[in-house]
Subunit: 363 residues, 2 copies
């Protein structure tokens, strides 16, 4: 059965590890290693498979979800995420809130801010506490209420002790929209907004997992942001040309994807990027770039039409409770295609694309 | 946080096990224990949540999926399943084929036989063989081709050794249909068809897991059956009034749900039920009722309009390669509401609703 496999595949996926390849932690970490595994193994064949309509967006786009055109002015957006976060309950949220927010936000990133319904598949370790399960379930309900959606169908599995650690939650979501926003939509001159402070989720998890005690606010930002995104989309129809939620791989990962797919360079003004003091302190202590750290309630938004339009979008974001710290952080360039450049105020440096999130089971 | 919980809940879910309840293997086994966990914990709140339109079918129906009405004559059907089958590759299929078939079949059971697109979320154990992963992925592709659908979006996570055993695959699917078929649609006089031999999947897994050597054909029936169901639906428009796929809990589990929801009794003629000799042999050896054993490529279909119509549906099913062994096995009764009665030829007996599948990680 190996005859049909590209003989260099396993070596490439494992970075030259040789024959009999295997999956490593970096392959699930949201960076370049994961993208290689997905491109070279998991999506082979599917990227070329026919879609319901020629204009549909499927796996080949590697966007936040798929957009299937079902009528001339109607798209069905579909997305999924599995959640394996550890610990299951963390400062600012839990696996249930994370699952709902993750799926609602992926739909919103495609321009579909009114989710029709969500699925929820849970896999539970034998012996798991029913009290914790009930708390997680109530947390999902609360997040659904914030997003204006409900779980409409689900599935339940149980695995034995030793076969699964705790609880895994998969969610998928579906929404209809008249206009799809791609992560590939940037053109030179577009301005870039982040909708709030960055790195909160990853750093909160890092702190709780390692027992660090940091002064100040170090809680996950996990939240469904579809209502925030809807407010931004309504300001000037068509002005938002690209969106991505900077989860695993952080803002730097999202910007690299947006730069590569859009065929632009990206310039970020470091002093404009909102970072909470506690996040900055821990990141400096650990030598981690906040731009590489996961967020679960933020969006990177590309705006066309110049500074006046971007400032109107910014004002709309800041009026929303989840967008108070939104900021214009940079712009798309015609040069440096596929690269992300940070202007520190003292000079410029390239920001690398992360190979993966530094922390496993971040989401 | 426990104040708002029904104080008897934990005891009821655990069958009286007392305080500090926990999830047991039976809660994932597709029977009454799982239905209790779902009703009392996992779906609380969601069953009452508003749906996009008043006629939509959500969690409260406990059907194979949700059906969201998006236009006067158009329904969006949505479903999900997580797959944890052990071993990952088994006689007749693997976890990839199982995932695609499971989701395509759940859509088909709601009358939506032309899936628009599927999602696929994989969670992989660190160190998992890339060669096996590639085989599973090709198996998914092949099953998608049989069903006429593609995976259009996905998600990848990796968990450490000791945190996950092998590979978990979640799939969700979406389809549009003009007519929804419910599992609740039976009325007295409706005839019941099974689309082929029963118990093949569960018994094949049981044999391979326990190292039993049985003569004859003992392979899983796992297959997407949407094209088979489509053929049946086209025979006499409106004649098929109820469908369910008898996975965990087997045909008996499906019939119990159909009887309870439809407010009917169900009579099954045992000698009409197709069971392969090897399945019957192993079931007798183990003292297991074939009606309780999981299937992954079969449907239970309720037909209205009398025997002539049922025989036309049967003929259409038998023309399809996946329906050659289809049979009319019984009928819905006005009496014995919620019960399933088997006529053995020598007398009648009640078939219990299984508390759960005898084998964990069957799908």
């Amino acid at each position: 059965m190996t005859a049909s496999i590209d003989p260099t595949l396993r070596m490439r996926v494992n970075g030259g590890a040789g024959r009999g390849g295997h999956v490593g932690m970096k392959h699930g970490a949201g960076g370049t290693a994961m993208r290689r595994l997905i491109a070279e193994t998991l999506t082979r064949g599917f990227v070329d498979a026919p879609l319901p309509t020629p204009g549909s967006i499927g796996l080949a786009a590697f966007d936040d979800g798929a957009a299937l055109q079902i009528a001339p002015d109607q798209w069905l957006v579909l997305t999924t995420d599995s959640h394996v976060v550890q610990p299951i309950e963390f400062p600012g949220g839990d696996i249930g809130r994370l699952a709902i927010a993750g799926t609602v936000n992926d739909l919103a990133m495609m321009g579909a801010t009114e989710p029709l319904g969500l699925t929820c598949g849970v896999i539970i370790e034998e012996g798991f506490s029913l009290e914790t399960l009930e708390r997680v379930q109530r947390s999902m309900q609360a997040a659904c209420a914030e997003a204006g959606v409900s779980v409409v169908t689900g599935d339940t599995k149980v695995m034995r002790k030793g076969e699964l650690d705790g609880l895994v939650v998969n969610t998928a979501g579906v929404a209809l929209t008249r206009r799809v926003v791609r992560d590939a939509g940037l053109a030179p001159g577009d301005l870039l907004i982040v909708t709030g402070s960055i790195g909160d989720h990853g750093m909160a998890l890092m702190a709780v997992r390692n027992g660090f005690e940091i002064e100040g606010d170090l809680t996950s930002d996990v939240a469904p942001i579809n209502t925030l995104v809807r407010a931004a989309l309504q300001v000037v129809p068509g002005a938002i040309v690209a969106m991505k939620d900077p989860t695993r791989g952080g803002v730097a990962g999202s910007l690299h994807e947006m730069a590569t797919k859009g065929g632009v360079g990206i310039l970020v003004r470091e002093q404009s990027v909102p970072v909470k003091p506690a996040v900055r302190a821990l990141a400096e202590m650990l030598g981690i770039e906040p731009l590489h750290v996961a967020n679960e309630g933020k969006a990177v938004i590309g705006v066309r039409g110049g500074m006046a339009v971007a400032e109107r979008v910014l004002a709309a974001l800041r009026e929303h409770p989840l967008g108070r710290d939104a900021a214009i952080v940079g712009e798309a360039l015609a040069e440096h295609v596929g690269r992300v450049i940070v202007d520190t105020g003292l000079g410029r440096r390239l920001v690398s694309e992360p190979e993966g999130e530094p922390l496993p089971r971040i989401c």
